[in-house]
Amino acid sequence: MVQSLYGVAEETKTIWVYLERDGDTLEGVCLELLARGREMADTLGWSLEGLLLGQNISSLAHAALACGADRVYVVDHPRLADFTSEAATEAAFQAITGRRPSMFLVGVTPNGRDLAGRLAVRLRTGLNADCTDLRVNPETGVLVSEVSGFGGGILALIEMPQRRPQMATVRPGVFVPPEPDPERTGEIIFLDVDLKTTPFRTHVVERSVGEALDLTQAPVLIAGGRGVDGDFDTLRELAGLLDGEVGATRPPVDDGYVERARQIGQTGVVCRPKIAITCGVSGAFHFVVGIQDAETIIAINNDPEAPIFDYADYCIVGDVREIVPALIRELQDPRLATGNP
């Protein structure tokens, strides 16, 4: 059997989180990984450490310390100013083989995926992608990654007993973000990497970033499925009244009624809103994983047998085109807006 570049015997008892920059802050999913990483590190009595790649980005290291990291490694290099998978992979590879963490956790973003896929091959290690949960075995220090099997409500537990680091990627919204503690202190260590032989193949020609849509922060989510028949305007009106956002299952996204950034579920966004209202959604499991952590779920569907009702607190068997407009009228009722609810 082929070995990874270091094994269990050589690992340091550390959990690493890849700290991806998002403008002037860290990606939310990295903070979520720090929160779960902190819990796992405490279970094992290990150290939680971050890896930050970029140029002039060391101020972000403090944010990671405040969110639970004990130590942050900073690689500051002009080749890392703009993310390219080749330079980032080589920098991470050198940092990881130098310090030999037991685990390396990466958030699912376009760049996070690009890095993780290349890096796992370079390290000859495995990669548990799109995990729905991460745990550790407190006796062995082995990472147990949970991934959901497609279509059904089946969760597979995946382990990597021999090779290191144990790599996993997790989507935004799966873990609860930490409460930053600005008083928390830790170590910041600058690492040198040699990128002289890393080829310059890829570069950014153009980048245009505006206001980002972040469904994971919405307190109310109105999710439409095939049953709304493309009428998302009514759902947008309802979302507007509740200071919420509109999401969708895959078919309306594929049909172009809603932009892909609003797709909810296993291959989309995972949300944990206060209230999720599903409209004309049948409740396939790969959708349900995207809302199952909502505090309250309301489901409207004309099929009394629809599986979505098994996941809902309040179930309405009826026509979305009647119920949603009635709810909008009710919420607009001035007697309710001014009086006590």
Binding site: E159, V204, A212, Q292, P341
Partner: protein, 263 residues
């Protein structure tokens, strides 16, 4: 001439996969198979490049021999040839072993200017194969592109992709790996005029592990670092499952009260 290889996965139709209530295992035995829908978007990008520049377009897939007829859909859409990597020793492969095996197949095909993949598979949905392939082949990658332009003189490819709150255009040198954003285009239909040609046995080559000089330690289960250590039934939190009755107005009043309390 531009050389393109599209990597195609054959997957069971998700709506036809069921779960065995006793063992919790996925029962794919009654599911028909299809080309992974995101790979159809990759096919369409490849065919547009072929229309524009002229290209030799190879399809590379991995799996049992019964995938053969399904792969002929790609030929009828306009691909030139299919190579199916089929060997029991490839079974049980995780991402590391899968990307190694595909990379060996690509090398044996003589490489290509562009290797194009779907963004992810509908049954695995890890999206890690394109980046892993690029690493084994030691070439650049642009993932989740909505379109791609090739400049043959400068030997570069440009891809546009969506990022949080916007888009970016990346350029990388050929050869390169592209992955194509799911549902970013409308895959063309099969051309029934070439159906007979597409079903000619000669259009599909099957290669085993020896044909691609695969290292036995790197393929299949031995080449896969990850193991499935358990299966669990997904448990979601207990829900009230209270059915609300009445006219739409009655229901709206009840919902409004629920919402005001929960917010």
């Amino acid at each position: 001439m531009l050389r393109i290889i599209v990597c195609v996965k054959i997957v069971p139709k998700p709506e036809e996969v069921s779960v065995d209530p006793e063992t919790w295992r996925l029962d794919r035995s009654h599911a028909r198979s299809e080309i992974n829908p995101p790979d159809m978007n990759a096919m369409e990008i490849a065919l547009r490049l072929k229309d524009r520049h002229g290209a030799r377009l190879d399809i590379l897939s991995m799996g049992p021999p019964f995938f053969d007829p399904i792969l002929r859909v790609a030929l009828a859409m306009g691909a030139d040839h299919v190579t199916l990597l089929s060997d029991r020793a490839f079974g049980g492969a995780d991402t590391l072993a899968t990307t190694y095996t595909l990379a060996k197949g690509i090398e044996k095909l003589g490489g290509a200017d562009l290797i194009i993949c779907g963004e992810e598979s509908s049954d695995g949905a890890t999206g890690q194969v394109p980046a892993g392939l690029a690493e084994w082949l030691d070439i650049g990658q642009i993932t989740m592109v909505h379109d791609a332009q090739v400049d043959l003189e400068r030997r570069v490819v440009r891809g546009r992709r969506e990022i949080k709150g916007g888009h970016e255009i990346l350029e990388t040198t050929l050869p390169a790996v592209l992955s194509v954003a799911t549902a970013c285009n409308e895959p063309r239909f099969m051309d029934y005029r070439i159906k007979e040609w597409a079903f000619d046995p000669e259009q599909v080559t099957v290669w085993g592990r020896n044909d691609i000089d695969a290292d036995p330690d790197l393929i299949g289960a031995p080449g896969s670092p990850t193991i499935v250590s358990g299966l669990e039934e997904a448990t979601s939190r207990e829900r009230k499952r209270r059915f609300l009755q009445g006219s739409p107005e009655d229901i709206a009043r009840q919902l409004s009260a629920v919402i005001r309390q929960a917010i």
